[in-house]
Symmetry: D4
């Protein structure tokens, strides 16, 4: 609880305009709401400035629409991640203005207010880079997330280290971005190579793409954690949403 609001409340108590019982309640009354199975954190958009995100995997359709509905009532923009086409169809039948980013598996339900929020002040562009074609879904999850939070986003796909000239040909794009997200499966070496080229922060996302001793992304994860290039930090396997979110935190002013 912020100090200013605390002082104001105590002042009211001192003046007698707020009874003690009410003060006790307000000291405790943070703005969230209980749906029984999920506690909605309306306060988060105050604290973090961003919409509530529904991670759809492991939730039922009714749970997803119930959560989205309450958030929408409060005018929040909602991002539903890991949304299957079925989830998207149901959400869009409820809110026709919702948009489904199929490759990214994200449904965006725009906020209810008539005017868009002012664009955040950003350092520059977030560049999302992938090693292969199979890494694109995770990359798109990152790109859509960062874009919906307010960052300009560009993408550069299929530039893995097996054909280094494909990457080096785009050095200007790598150099001109303000933050880079590198998405790679298999051995994940692209993160180290990009990290060695640029002087901007690089967010590495291992993907579960691969076979055999890739162990569902473990190989790429270890590669990225041990990167010999400085300036590389790592997200969980396949966590495109986290990378896009973190990239926007770095990119906004």
């Amino acid at each position: 609880m912020e100090e200013d609001r605390l002082r104001a409340l105590l002042e009211e108590v001192r003046l007698g305009t707020t009874p003690i019982d009410e003060a006790v309640g307000r000291l405790r009354d943070l703005p969230y709401e209980d749906l029984g199975f999920a506690k909605l954190d309306h306060h988060r958009s105050l604290r973090n400035g961003f919409p509530e995100v529904i991670y759809c995997q492991g939730k039922t359709l009714p749970q997803i629409t119930a959560i989205a509905g309450r958030l929408r009532e409060r005018s929040h923009k909602v991002l539903a991640t890991r949304a299957t086409p079925e989830v998207a169809a149901v959400v869009r039948s409820e809110w026709p203005d919702a948009v489904y980013h199929e490759a990214a598996r994200i449904v965006v339900v725009p906020g209810a207010q008539s005017e868009p929020p002012p664009a955040p002040n950003c350092r520059g562009t977030v560049l999302v880079v992938t090693a292969g074609t199979a890494d694109v879904p995770v990359a798109e999850e990152a790109a859509v997330t960062a874009r919906e939070m307010g960052s300009p986003v560009e993408t550069l796909y299929d530039v893995g280290v097996a054909g280094l000239h494909r990457l080096l040909d785009h050095k200007e794009r790598l150099f001109s971005a303000s933050v880079l997200i590198v998405v790679a499966g298999m051995e994940g070496a692209l993160a180290s190579v990009v990290g060695g080229l640029v002087r901007q922060p690089v967010i590495a996302v291992p993907t579960s793409v691969g076979y055999g001793a890739s162990f569902q992304g473990l190989a790429a994860l270890l590669t990225m954690l041990n990167s010999c290039a400085s300036g590389v930090s790592v997200m969980n396997i396949d966590n495109g949403f986290g990378a896009g979110y973190f990239a926007h935190l770095v990119n906004r002013m």
Copy 2:
């Protein structure tokens, strides 16, 4: 190679002021230097704007001083990380103006030029937070690194989640930092808690502090990778240097 220098060189070729043989050589001649066992990357300070870093572990004393000597000749500031007291003593006998940050295990040899470089333009302060006392060496490595690169740094130690009020009492410091580094061993839960409180980027560093099923930092590493809080990215176990470096990349404008 940047396009401008390429154009200039081709222009010289066209004008005949640069012979083709020389042009071939210059197209290839990037400014690094070969010591036999190590290729010094003087160019890195151009590319990245930062000094060369010597990772001392696994290098002999003569190797360390040889590398440091060549870098110093080129006026670079040198950070020698994972420096034991022996390494520090030898380096300081060579360059008396070198400073040993013992807790951080870093020796800093200042650059040879008489004037300090202009301070970089930073967003704000990097705050380094630890869960326990045993995490302090890694935290200090992060703090010294970020500070030497030009970021203002503050620290907040021993505020682990077993006594949550110790952390919550410092919410203002958490909220006012521009980037946070959370250093924790054992179960590493502090990163999730801090990540849930603030809206700034959080860089999580697992440490090898712990015993039993902590498996030399693996438990904390997995905890941080799976953080339920958005806005958390992860470094390798005990990689305080990487965290400080990454934090400064995020913090500078």
Copy 3:
């Protein structure tokens, strides 16, 4: 074999009222029953005071109903855990008074005797806490188990550390419980935070909820085993039944 019964039997041997052959047999004749594929342990309800539990996973429908039938004949209450809706339907067609707790995946077949057993003497309430919505099935398994064994149970769901105020708002409930079960997947940090707040025993249950480097609950398991808070013990991944059982053992007087 308890000493009292042993003495009584030996006394009978001494008096000649029990022949030696019969004594040998009774010394060996513990009250269990052989169904061929499973040895029913009727004695367990004597030894432990609790009903027999059928772990349904990996058993066929005929096996489950055969075991339940024999137990029911002996008037035991039966808990069938990890029961799919199919299992529940079959059991309830056999014993219409059986109750299916769907979220908990438990079928309870009440004991045959007309009068309920006297309520056990309990310390207080078992509080089951989850980090997220997806952890609820495991939590419900714990809650139903403890409740069927005789403990008063309350639940507090979706109070993970990413929104710490959601948890702190319920400190009274945390403080007033006599035992707490904390159910969490992903990074499992909630157990450490709750363990640091309360002075009651905390039983931590990692769940397989998560993705990527959560490795089907391994990350949460390691987190909980390494908890920096004292007073936390750990169950197997997704073992809600075990947590409820253990919590009742702690709670009863």
Copy 4:
């Protein structure tokens, strides 16, 4: 913060006997103390009713004595765990009334107040059982911890399952305890066997005793987590302190 104290403070604010600035300070002023490298949590003895514990491993001798000194000034009893003989010698030279439990590697510095605290009201006895001789140090750590917190403690050592009669011969002791701690390395099967015999809560502690594929306690840890007996919960490898602490939480009324 407890509601009673909050109400009292607000009442004072209303009455004007406490100025707002002071109220803000007191609302924030939880009783802990900052030694620079460690934040002492005097409040913990209020919250938890137990002394502060110093985990010595990874702390320097001056750090240990500094922390112990401040705690002692506040009259707290101090338990220093994982204390080497060197640590014990230094602590005892400072506080001659300190007692070193060598097998348990714990130094106890009694509280400064003249009168002992009233004995807690306990359910019964904590019984600490080991599979082998090499498990004794971890068992002693558990026993000393529970005893210092106020529980009556008994021990039963070297009754591993390779000679089952050694265990069965002590069934009365197993049955009469109120809580059991089972400490075992190698394959850790003793926890399952004890858990199948008794109806009291069993706290299982895997130890790093073993070789080859025991993997420093991992084998015993997995065994205990997968125990087929209900009523068994698990601590981290070698975590005798945690087991003793948890056992006392369960044992006190």
Copy 5:
């Protein structure tokens, strides 16, 4: 190649009754047969005295019947393990005297010769013990294998350590067997308990029965490898066939 046959062949060469070319060929001509995808090892029944075994998993129906057909032509008895009901149906439509042991997932095609082989000379009985009902398929695979090879086999199922009296009640059977196979999943403690009771060789078979941190049998495997009881050796997870085979090797005279 045995020395006797070698001497005989050389004698023929010396006598000129066998030309050198033929001798070279016979020295090389071991009796196996090539089906293209599989080399049948008819010689194995000479070397080992046992029938060829077809491990069905990963082989197509035509491959299985082709291999079985050739073996049958040579009068060998065939054991097809891991045989699904489909495999069994096809094999039995080809050879109506084949027998399908459904629980064991083994089809036995008897050898073509009219007279049964003389029963091997055995030490005694192989006793197959399981901890639970879910371990029975692996146990049956072991029992059928040992029986088909010529050993008398008995079984004792569902006597896991959670109800120790169920096991102890059968001590005579345990003591009177000449070899014991202990099949257990979850924590696998039964192998240690049986190994501590008997003085016969115990062959432990971990099963993939369990959940959570049992990791598909890894927990039971580690338990058994680290058994504190001497006289226990271990087979691969779920390898009932191997256990039955090894038990017969030990049991025959």
Copy 6:
């Protein structure tokens, strides 16, 4: 970029026959092509002398045919690996001269030019050896790959170490090959045995064939990496393509 072409280009710049802007472009213009989701690397056939390979797993049918189409336009021979029958059917409906190697799961679309490329100059024959029948698909992937690249290939299947004479009978074939590929699952011991027999390079490919503690090929992988025989190098689990490719690199002159 090769030095010769660089010199030629610079010469043109010097002569003024190539304007600087065009030179800048050509210095950058490597011959690859962007399909949006995949960057085709036509240059690779220049750099490596081999056709582009499409790894089908994780790509959609339209993606596969689009990539194949563009490559075919450039007259490249195309190998599509891990091709299901569905993929093969679609590819062959597009290019009727495509051949599907079903066991190897490879579709080969021949290059468009009328004349075959000159056969490469090879050392000798690549011999592909398997331990069992279930290893054949991976072996066939290796064999087809090496053959399509231009190496003579022979195969020797089902000669695992459980019947050593089956292998030893073919020593001449082992000795006369110029490179050997050993494909084995389960414990993978065949690679060590072959590596100890021959003096040619042995490429070991672990397969995911096995069960229990084979952990999807991990056991065989570790076996091969630790081979006590010199002259053995290892590919990823199930990576038949990589083995065939590497074998041809070794075999060509």
Copy 7:
């Protein structure tokens, strides 16, 4: 407790020659002895026919000599395994007739009785085979153990699969043994090769010999568990004692 002794005791109770109190005591009084830190299991030599074994690792010198002393008083032969030269020196200063098998790290203290026990009736010879020189200590531990228990033992060292002829040259010795122990580190392939050659039981012992991805014996352990040869069972890493013990159980009649 054996049935005969039980009947005899009950008969005495019936006859009144044994009072009930004494009968209760004797029913419980199994012959073991408590040293405080270790419960000596004198009964084991009755149950198993073999001497008590002291596993020295992790025990202090006084503990070892105390245990050995009590066992010696009861005339038992004592095997102290994993005995360092220091342990051996102390034991031999106490009992000059003790013998130290240095390579095996075993001290044997002969039993006190004047006459040797009758030699057990054995099937034949135990043959201990190693892959390399570095495996010899584990092999010697196995050999000494089996020999001290009464089995004839032979050894065949350094016959690893990298030079297969070294092994094949000794086929007669392999064929003529009644039980084989195969000790191998690195990739452990020798167990499969020997298992494929012989028709006797093979006991495989992985050793921690190796480097890199041998992971302290894990590679060899997995190899042996997954052996494609039937008739192979596995001991824990470096567990030479267990192998020798198990081999004797198999070998004796």
Copy 8:
């Protein structure tokens, strides 16, 4: 055994010039020698054309010199790998012409014959590349091994991917080698980058250089096994000897 010698021997048997007993012996008598603890494989130099290699780790000084002595008597060149300076000093005191390659930890004892063996016919040069300075010892082990076997060897050290221009500047050297060995620790990405650049076989050697989640080389090992570049095969962690040996096998004609 080669067919020619077999035919010759049989011919002698037929002619009666060789008695059958002697023939049996010679059929068995492969030329190796038994030192008790190690079987020297003189035949290997015939089979493989290379000297015997002594892996010193885990062997005593007397064992090493005994083995070397016998090999020297047979005129073999001896490579002793993983030789500490102590080993080197002892060997050189015995054979003053021995050479110690300290960085490579290899002692070479030249063969006793007066004339050098004819240089093998090689394809070209083996190029050994390292990512960092700390990888040099493993690289030197590879370089010395390949050179002693007869291959021309060049080295290119410290060209890791964090400074890609350092590598690209040497493309001609990469392109002109006939075989490449890439030695890298940490994340091991260099192997993929080199493998993507060249069309020669690349042998990747992970090193145990790194910290934290590099897990003693596991991260680099997985990276290399999963390389997205074709033409890369992998050796065990730190296995420089194996890489040099394999590279020479590939390089010789």
